[in-house]
């Protein structure tokens, strides 16, 4: 989950097919250097257009929050635009805009990142402003109070009034009992309401340091020039001793979990989430790569299994999806979802998804399906070079979750090496009921009157 300071942004960047991958040739143009204060600087040279993107990634997200102060990582992200001594509130955005730039920020469970896209000549300006707010944020109580209201509106818009988002939030809180993925990135409303400027100060002081950040610059620049500029603007910011990262061991699930969310909507919806491993040793692990390919076989293209079988042939579902995220600091999930067709129920689509799982485990996947998914991986590696921003984003993510950007080309090789038997094996291992949470949206009429039939009760076949 990734939320931004402004506007909706669908960044399901981990789904295979849109996963960011680029190979050895592109990777050869990536340079890195670590400043004495611990700030890691990574440069991706790309000379196609006279533009540049600067992204600064802090290895701190909502999963580093404690109970009672959820949402603080994201609130602080908003406050980063609210002024320093040298650059008063609102001035950051005005200066970037005056340079022709675009800028924003986003917070996820795992990290918080800020970016500017500009003409290459304005990189010094972007660095000057970004380095200033790494150390000099004012955090005035007046600005804090106003921005908290904005974040509450954001939560109402993003989650409270959005049936699918509520389902997602409740599901995560059910799947994870102890791990902080239990809490939504934006925070629980009553936590957000009770946050103080002191909480924001403590958060800023604890995490906003050069040795907890990665600076990614991509575009029409020379790496040596960028390193020199980075040294000039960020080099003097003192390193800080970082609190040791708290690790969590989510207790093993000991039986299937089910939950229902009632919210205004027309169509029911079903989500099946299985615990799954994430990548931790990119050169040794094989299961995460097999799970990525599995997601591609199920939902990587229009002819993939779920769409072909459930939507087109059986016509049980009006929409389907499969997703898996092999990169994260915390535990992973493999998610299957479906919206029943008119007259069909969540019971029908759950049965159909279980049938797909059974076929996978029993018969595995064909060489043809495997080849098709790999062809898409190869092609998207080329297509992604058309977007500077996403290339930088991939680097920043990999660094922030601890795998490092060198995992990117390695991952491409490892994905190509996945076998049909490995795909079958991971399906068998992880698609288990004891691993599963089933979340159902029970649609409610807008009038607030009770729904005519209990959910799942009508079987029109």
């Amino acid at each position: 989950m990734l939320i931004t300071r402004f506007g909706a942004r669908d960044m399901r960047v981990y789904l295979l097919g849109i996963v960011l991958l680029f190979g050895a040739t592109a990777q050869a143009e990536v340079f890195e250097r670590t400043l004495a204060n611990g700030l890691k600087v990574i440069v991706k040279e790309d000379h196609r257009a006279p533009v540049v993107v600067q992204q600064i990634w802090y290895k701190t997200g909502s999963m580093d929050e404690r109970t009672g102060v959820t949402g603080i990582a994201h609130v602080l992200e908003h406050l980063m635009f609210k002024g320093t001594r040298a650059v008063p509130a609102g001035e950051f955005s005005r200066r970037i805009a005056a340079a022709g730039g675009r800028e924003n920020a986003f917070t996820s469970y795992d990290y918080t990142a800020y970016f500017q896209q500009l003409h290459k000549s304005s990189l010094p300006l972007a660095m000057q402003l970004e380095s200033d707010r790494m150390q000099n944020l004012l955090l005035s109580p007046v600005e804090f109070a106003k921005e908290l209201k904005v974040v509450m509106e954001e939560r109402r818009w993003r989650t409270d009034d959005n049936a699918h988002a509520l389902l997602q939030e409740t599901m995560m809180a059910t799947i994870f009992q102890q791990h902080p993925y239990h809490h939504p990135v934006i925070g629980w409303m009553s936590d957000v309401e009770s946050l103080t400027v002191g909480d924001a100060r403590a958060w800023y002081k604890r995490w906003y340091a050069p040795n907890n950040a990665t600076l990614v610059v991509a575009g029409d620049v020379r790496a040596e020039d960028v390193f020199a500029l980075a040294q000039r603007y960020y080099g003097s910011i003192p390193r800080r001793s970082m609190a040791r990262e708290r690790t969590y061991i989510e207790p093993a699930q000991i039986g299937i979990k089910r939950l229902v969310v009632k919210a205004p909507a027309e169509l029911p919806h079903l989500v099946m989430s299985f615990h799954a491993p994430v990548l931790s040793k990119p050169d040794e692990d094989w299961e995460p790569y097999a799970l990525e390919i599995l997601a591609g076989v199920l939902d990587g293209n229009e002819s993939a299994r779920l769409n072909k079988h459930l939507v087109r042939e059986q016509q049980l579902a009006s929409g389907v999806g499969a997703g898996y995220d092999s990169f994260s600091r915390g535990p992973g999930l493999f998610v299957l979802e479906a919206t029943p067709s008119a007259g069909k129920t969540v019971i029908d689509v759950e049965a159909a998804l279980r049938n797909e799982i059974a076929k996978l485990v029993q018969d595995g996947v064909s060489e043809e399906e495997l080849r098709r998914v790999k062809a898409q991986v190869t092609a998207s590696e080329v297509y992604k070079r058309d977007s500077l921003f996403y290339q930088a984003m991939q680097i920043g993510q990999m660094e922030s979750i601890g795998l490092g950007h060198r995992t990117i080309p390695l991952m491409l090789e490892r994905l190509q090496a996945v076998t049909a038997e490995q795909v079958r094996k991971v399906a068998q291992t992880y698609f288990q009921d004891d691993n599963l949470t089933v979340a159902t949206l029970d649609p409610q009429p807008l009038s607030g009157k009770p729904k005519q039939a209990p959910q799942g009760a009508s079987h029109v076949r």
């Binding site: 005005r94 209201k149 509106e153 009034d161 929409g319 080329v382």
Partner: protein, 442 residues
């Protein structure tokens, strides 16, 4: 520090003035289609889009949804290829077949590797999808059910409810008022014949605009354009859209259980060919288009924390599309936010921007110009728009110059001609403490 800033400013202007725009080649294919092409070999890939004047404003009111369903079914079955053949054929070579659809334009787009094997196969499938669609009954029945389900779902969402009511209030009986995918009742009335008829009268070779961007030569591009259009239907262009009428003020409050009110305020705005295009564009940047630095953002969010998102835009279309201001805020403060929006708009129309605001807008739009054309995908879309709306081929070359020429007086004049703050349509979904569905005309 002052000196440094000044130097950056100078460098920036020099640099953007010297920035080369892509060289657009242009010709008419033997099929009659118009072609725009940019040759670029930086990446081993090819982007192609074929655009038709076949958007939903060509729908009849009682069968609205025909245009969208025709477009939707193009890649769900062609002569000699089932929907599954098409999907697998495209996926096997890592290509991406897509499209976009709005009131004016239906387009089909392709991204493929430019290596011969992949490119030829991808274009062969695309050519078939565009020129030999088969609207199969069983596929259509299934997709109709899906479209109707989505329409019913949309009728529960405040953003969709407000959008639909707003369109109706702004465009009245003009086809721009029609919902993009039709209505539940109108979609139910669509059958294969309607799709075939719409296809053969709107997907015409003479009306097609082909945009090609990437790793092919001029000769290859010529062959591709011909391959994609030579077998298209031939016929007379459909009659032109009616003019969009001015509106009087209206206000609708629609009940909804959401915690926030969704507010839209607007009126018919400008067409693509409007002589005030650049003045309105720059003016709107200052009013509500410029992200965090706009007046609306400053008043509503930055000063008072009333909303997460607040914006305004002009949607330039063949005929004047909507001018629209939008925001969401909790119900209890909806009226306060609405008053503030109206006051901000009225002030802006009455007095125009300050000279300082104009300079800032110019700096952003001119300085940010390279970001508009920094990828093949963005350039492809410019090619489509330039060709489709008959904009000058020098549109990109002239862009920064036109922006730089806009004055405060021009913005004030352009807004006075187009936007009357006393004649706005207002829609509030999830309205506070007022009877549902009540319609007030002021």
């Amino acid at each position: 520090m002052y000196v440094k800033t000044l130097i950056f400013a100078v460098l920036c202007c020099v640099a953007s003035a010297a920035f080369a725009t892509p060289r657009i080649q242009h010709w008419q294919s033997a099929s009659g289609a118009k072609v725009l092409f940019v040759e670029d070999h930086d990446l081993p890939m090819l982007d192609v889009a074929v655009n038709f004047p076949a958007g939903n404003s060509f729908d009849a009111a009682d069968t609205s949804g025909v245009a969208a369903l025709t477009h939707h079914l193009l890649d769900l079955g062609s002569e000699g290829m089932s929907e599954d053949d098409i999907a697998r054929g495209i996926a096997d070579i890592g290509a991406q077949l897509g499209g976009s659809f709005d009131q004016d334009r239906a387009s089909i787009s392709l991204r493929t590797l430019s290596s011969t094997l992949e490119r030829d196969r991808a274009l062969e499938i695309m050519a078939r999808v565009i020129q030999r669609p088969q609207f199969r009954g069983e596929v259509m029945s299934r997709e109709k059910i899906r479209v109707i389900a989505a329409l019913k779902e949309a009728e529960t969402k405040p953003e969709n409810i407000s959008d639909k009511a707003f369109r109706k209030a702004v465009f009245g009986t003009h086809p721009y008022a029609l919902p993009i995918s039709g209505e539940v009742e109108s979609v139910e009335k669509i059958f294969v014949q309607e799709l075939q008829d719409f296809y053969s009268t709107h997907y015409l070779a003479s009306a097609a605009v082909v945009a090609i961007m990437g790793d092919v030569s001029r000769a290859q591009a010529e062959a591709i354009a011909q391959q994609l259009t030579s077998r298209l239907p031939v016929g007379a262009a459909p009659s032109a859209l009616p003019e969009v009428a001015r509106i009087v003020a209206s206000e609708q409050r629609i009940a909804h259980p959401a915690s926030q009110s969704h507010i839209l305020v607007g009126a018919p705005g400008m067409s693509r060919s409007d002589p005030d295009y650049f003045a309105l564009y720059v003016g709107n940047y200052i009013l509500g288009g410029g992200g965090f630095v706009s007046r609306l953002m400053n008043e509503v969010r930055e000063k008072r924390g009333l909303a997460y998102s607040v914006y305004s835009y002009f949607m330039p279309m063949q005929k004047p599309g909507a001018f629209q201001i939008g925001l969401q805020t909790k119900k209890e403060q909806a009226d306060e936010a609405l008053r503030l929006v109206r006051k901000t708009l009225a002030d802006f129309v009455a007095n125009g921007p300050t000279e300082k605001e104009l300079v800032a807008a110019r700096q952003n739009i001119v300085g940010g110009f390279p970001l508009r054309i920094d990828s093949n995908r963005k350039i492809l879309e410019y090619l489509s728009v330039i060709g489709f709306y008959d904009l000058p081929l020098s549109y990109l070359d002239d862009f920064t110059h036109k922006i730089e020429q806009v004055t405060v007086a021009q913005i004030r004049g352009a807004f006075a001609r187009h936007i009357d703050p006393m004649a706005m349509a207002t829609v509030i979904v999830g309205a506070p403490e007022v009877e549902a569905k009540q319609e007030v005309t002021k």
